[in-house]
Symmetry: C2
Subunit: 222 residues, 2 copies
């Protein structure tokens, strides 16, 4: 049986710092195992000094020990480290295949960029290589601004998820309003993002292929 899961169950019942009476039957129902299993497991956890137990007239009083609290805290911290949201994302400029111009010039897209993002896009997108893990952390919980697709006589054009951001050179000298654009049916992989802005980012930030830039949610956010 899963030590952490059971320990957490007990902590939620008894409180992290408190002790409280419980019955093996009650816990067994919540856990979908037999009463005997809970009884055995409680004694196992006690032996491991993760909890303390003492019999009471109608059950057992149970609470976490410092070691038990420590184990839960350790897990929390390890998971936190994995999932923490980043406020910045570093990307390395590279030259794409030129489809960027496509998004920024097609009228139905362009007008939505203006209306929804407040950006009248300079033709073309800035392509950035990023760490996929960092990209996920950066975008975690962010709600995209959705630019809807359309079709003309020849083909259909997919929707685009967008995010208002700021982009800076690594020296933090120039701070420019921009937007992350993520075509929902992307031709790029997880290690790539595209950025649009009202101005020529390559020129304004003085970028050559391989130079790094930093994306931020705002100049001072959260």
């Amino acid at each position: 049986m899963d030590t952490i899961k059971l320990l957490l169950e007990i902590a939620e019942h008894s409180g992290f710092y408190k002790k409280k009476e419980l019955t093996t039957i009650h816990l067994s129902k919540k856990y979908q195992v037999s009463q005997q299993t809970i009884s055995n497991q409680l004694r196992r956890l006690e032996k491991q000094e993760l909890i303390f137990r003492s019999p009471s007239y109608s059950g057992t009083v149970v609470g976490l020990t410092a070691a038990g609290r420590g184990l839960l805290s350790e897990f929390k911290e390890r998971i936190e480290k994995l999932t923490e949201r980043s406020d910045t994302l570093v990307g390395k400029a590279f030259t794409g295949l030129g489809e960027g111009r496509f998004y920024t010039e097609k009228m139905p897209y362009k007008s939505q960029f203006v209306k929804k993002l407040g950006i009248k896009p300079y033709p073309g997108t800035l392509n950035l290589k990023v760490d996929p893990d960092e990209k996920m952390k950066f975008l975690q919980d962010a709600t995209p601004i959705r630019v809807v697709g359309f079709k003309n006589e020849n083909r259909t054009y997919g929707a685009i998820s967008c995010h208002n951001i700021y982009i800076t050179d690594m020296k933090d000298i120039t701070d420019m309003k921009a937007a992350l654009i993520i075509p929902e049916r992307s031709h790029y992989s997880d290690d790539t993002v595209e950025v649009i802005s009202a101005e020529n980012l390559r020129y304004k930030l003085n970028l050559k292929d391989g130079n790094e830039v930093e994306l931020k949610w705002s100049i001072k956010q959260n």
Copy 2:
């Protein structure tokens, strides 16, 4: 085998959002189990759709699924809820046995209160009943300012753990600098705290027994 623990191990190896090659032998050594066990467990986790696997030329590429990430996140949040630190603590005034005057009047204590806490204590302490769990959350990670004990011809006087705080009535009108004092060999239980201040708190906050007050770390902290 502990599902959460193994899943976390994999997440730390592969990254929360990434996939990465691993060998069952490598993980078995880290985990102190046999290679076969890891092999079986990986297949179990795959069956439960917590991870995905695909064979590679020198091992297996493994990553978490959305469900796997969700399970870890769920645990993190449940533990967070249990352990989150409180910035405020509500207490209910009650009349103690008068030993408070003892701490605030004994010269060796008094002089340390002035020097270490910046408080020339008004005689007596304000006794507050608090939720033991909330008390723990409030004091969690706080570093006490230690007022050392002493002895005279008759007896020894124990050390006191102190914390600089602010105390307010619940209407948040009056905000007063104060200190929590926790005798290290306390005669009070976990559901009690004592507060000292330069002024008469009962008078300044207009307190009668049973009235509630709020303790805070500072007027605007953390």
